[in-house]
């Protein structure tokens, strides 16, 4: 039963991926007569005939010389080989190479943000649920309204201003040397942490509040469940009840929201990376956008979507372990 469920989820994820990659293939081809148009280099001082040669060359180079269907087949074949295409940047680097360079740096930010906000969020959320109705709880409620109303990039700017420029506690902007001179030495790691402090802070503030709120709500919901009373009636101590019965069940809705945030892990840092000039996927994407590097943009898009699909799938499969009730059928 479980295996068939797992297989079903995997097949569905593959199906969604195919829909997404098809969309990804056709979106840049919508509304333009010549899809290769976006790939042509600037005309510069070239004459018509010269420019035609260049255009022809570009079409061949980027595979626009065959029918759309054949292009699609090629595109899918390329993906099978994990080839996301070639960037228009000078030197024609592979999109996968560029992503490979930037991905670790984004992960530094987003994974630590996720962990920190999750840990603190769990603590705060449990505390607020525990101290339900007291000032801790009220504060959390207000904080959640405020944190949604304060966009992360504004928080980032203010942190950069106050902690970076005024108090000079942290670098207000990322030092690119950090990336260039990274060598796994303790010092280099320190430099990275030092630089990552403000971006992580600005992202965790919202994350902490979000996770606290989810945790609080689901802990309260679970606390009201009968089996918690059963557990207490068994004579289990408060902490045992909390850890073994309440939190374990409260994790279920939390797992969904963690899954959601993992799927948005890489793309979510775009604005923060921009504020701090952090050399991650977000800035790569914005660079691609500002230089009209379509293959790179679409490659990143597909990568992010695939990552999200994978994250969702993993969450769903994780759910099977976490919640024995999930076997067959769609939870939604």
């Amino acid at each position: 039963m479980k295996r068939s469920y797992v297989i079903k989820r995997i097949l569905y994820a593959v199906f969604i991926f195919f829909v997404v990659l098809t969309l990804n293939f056709f979106i840049p081809r919508l509304g333009v007569r010549d899809p290769a148009e976006r790939y042509y280099p600037p005309r510069g001082a070239m004459s018509d005939i010269e420019y035609e040669i260049i255009k022809q060359f570009t079409r061949e180079q980027y595979g626009f010389d065959v029918s759309t269907f054949q292009q699609y087949i090629r595109y899918v074949q390329g993906l099978m080989r994990l080839d996301l295409g070639t960037s228009l940047q000078p030197g024609s680097p592979k999109v996968t190479t560029l992503i490979g360079q930037r991905l670790p740096w984004t992960l530094v930010l987003s994974v630590s943000t996720l962990l920190i906000s999750l840990i603190i969020g769990l603590l705060f959320g449990t505390l607020a649920a525990w101290k339900r109705g007291r000032w801790q709880d009220t504060m959390l409620l207000n904080a959640s309204t405020i944190s949604i109303a304060l966009p992360s990039f504004f928080i980032a700017l203010m942190l950069s201003f106050y902690l970076g420029f005024e108090l000079e506690l942290f670098p207000a902007y990322t030092n690119p040397n950090m990336v260039a001179q990274f060598d796994w030495s303790w010092k280099a790691i320190q430099v990275v942490l030092n630089n990552a402090a403000l971006p992580i802070m600005s992202m965790t503030l919202g994350g902490i509040v979000g996770y606290s709120q989810t945790t609080r709500n689901s802990v309260i919901a679970v606390t009201n469940e009968d089996f918690v009373i059963t557990a207490r009636a068994k004579g289990l101590s408060h902490t045992t009840v909390l850890y073994k019965h309440v939190l374990r069940n409260a994790m279920l809705p939390l797992a969904t929201s963690i899954g959601m945030s993992i799927s948005g892990l890489i793309g979510g840092a775009i604005i923060i990376e921009r504020v701090f000039n952090w050399q991650g996927m977000g800035t790569l994407f914005l660079e691609a956008n500002s230089t009209n590097d379509y293959p790179l943009m679409m490659g990143i898009m597909l990568f992010l979507s695939a990552f999200a699909i994978l994250a969702n799938l993993v969450t769903e499969l994780f759910y099977v372990i976490l919640d024995p009730r999930v076997t067959v059928g769609d939870r939604r």
Binding site: I16, V19, V20, L23, I27, P28, L30, G31, R132, G133, R134, D137, L141, T145, I146, I148, A149, L150, P151, F153, F154, L157, M158, S160, F161, G164, F165, E166, A172, N224, S263, G264, I266, G267, G268, I270, I271, R274, V275, F285, L286, N289, N292, M297, M298, I300, M301, L304, S305, A308, I309, N312, R332
Partner: protein, 343 residues
């Protein structure tokens, strides 16, 4: 299980829009939200009257980088000497316009999709839910950036993109509610009486969902305002208009941090905060009004804080057999507007 009852409760409280506003007004937090939104709308409409300077005037070069003062309540920009207070006032127009228009269109689309998926079911439901699944995995912000690149940078495109990709959340909520409503007795009765699908959908299902839609719309408006600010901050908004997000982008690009011009960052941030906060307030209060359980549970704890011990003792004493309770009625000093059962 409890979700279902919540939905039904929300659905059954159908009443006119006016009474809703009235309810919001009676709620202290709701009143704050309503006043703030009204204030913002007023500011947006009266922007030309209220703004002391022309916010588009980049020619005041002698006035560059001024700190807040009486002449310029929020100072001026470093690069062009524009009056930040006036920019702030004009910025409300973009925020409100985008937020409200997108929110309303989104509500229509989301409700339509949700009702179709929920009520018609079958193939339509399947199709819509598969679309939802697909849209859910495509990263929204990058997609919006790609589309603005392809379609051009204008507010029309931004609204379009927000609408095209933002309806999924509402549609899912509405769908679950419709699934509940569909099996409710009055809908069944209407169907048995031979009402057409369309009739049932427009006369029974839609009104049943209206409150959820309104509530979600206010929250969506708030969310869209944040998203719009983010897009403008990334330089993807309309380049000619003044918006709060763009003000922040200009502040960052113009070196507000380097110059220590905190007022240039704080002002648009406060604008965004105020607008989003007020809409969220209304949304949250609506949630409380429609779903009083939430409020009841939180107010119990407040109550405990102010619990009058002598009163409680009195209650306990009244339970004794010997003292025959003359006054089993409640003293009115613990009175509140809602009477609800225990959680």
């Amino acid at each position: 299980m409890s979700e279902r009852s919540v939905f039904l409760r929300v659905a059954q409280r159908g009443s006119s829009f006016l009474s809703l506003v009235k309810k919001l007004w009676q709620h202290p937090k709701g009143r704050v939200g309503l006043i703030l939104v009204g204030f913002l709308v007023l500011v947006a409409v009266l922007a030309p009257v209220l703004a002391p300077y022309d916010p588009y005037d980049v020619t005041q070069r002698a006035e560059k980088g001024l700190r807040p003062s009486l002449q310029h309540p929020l100072g001026t920009t470093i690069t062009t000497g524009q009056d930040i207070f006036s920019m702030l006032i004009y910025g409300s127009r973009v925020s409100l316009m985008i937020g409200i228009s997108t929110g309303v269109v989104l509500a229509f689309l989301g409700a339509l999709m949700g009702v179709m998926a929920g009520y018609i079911g079958g193939f339509v439901d399947n199709l819509i839910m598969r679309i939802v699944d697909v849209l859910l995995v495509i990263p929204t912000l990058p997609l919006i950036i790609v589309l603005t690149n392809f379609l051009g940078r204008s507010y029309f495109v931004i609204v379009l993109v927000f609408v095209l990709f933002g309806w999924t959340g509402l549609a899912r909520i509405i769908r679950s509610l419709v699934l509940v409503l569909k099996n409710s007795n009055y809908v069944k009765a209407a169907e048995l009486a031979g009402a057409s699908r369309w009739y049932v959908m427009t006369k029974h299902i839609l009104p049943g969902t209206s409150h959820l839609i309104i509530m979600n719309t206010t929250l969506t408006c708030a969310g869209i305002m944040v998203a719009e600010a983010g897009l403008s901050f990334l330089g993807l908004g309309d380049p000619t208009a003044i918006s709060w997000g763009k003000m922040l982008a200009e502040a960052q690009g113009g070196g507000a941090l380097l110059f220590g011009a905190w007022w240039w960052i704080l002002a648009p941030g406060a604008g965004i905060f105020l607008a989003v906060f007020s809409f969220m307030r209304i949304g949250i209060v609506m949630e409380e009004v429609f779903n009083p359980r939430m409020k009841a549970s939180s107010s119990i704890y407040k109550l405990f804080k102010h619990l009058n011990n002598t009163y409680l003792e009195e209650v306990f004493r009244s339970m004794e057999d010997e003292e025959c309770p003359e006054s089993s009625q409640e003293p009115d000093y613990l009175d509140a507007s809602h009477a609800e059962g225990p959680p």
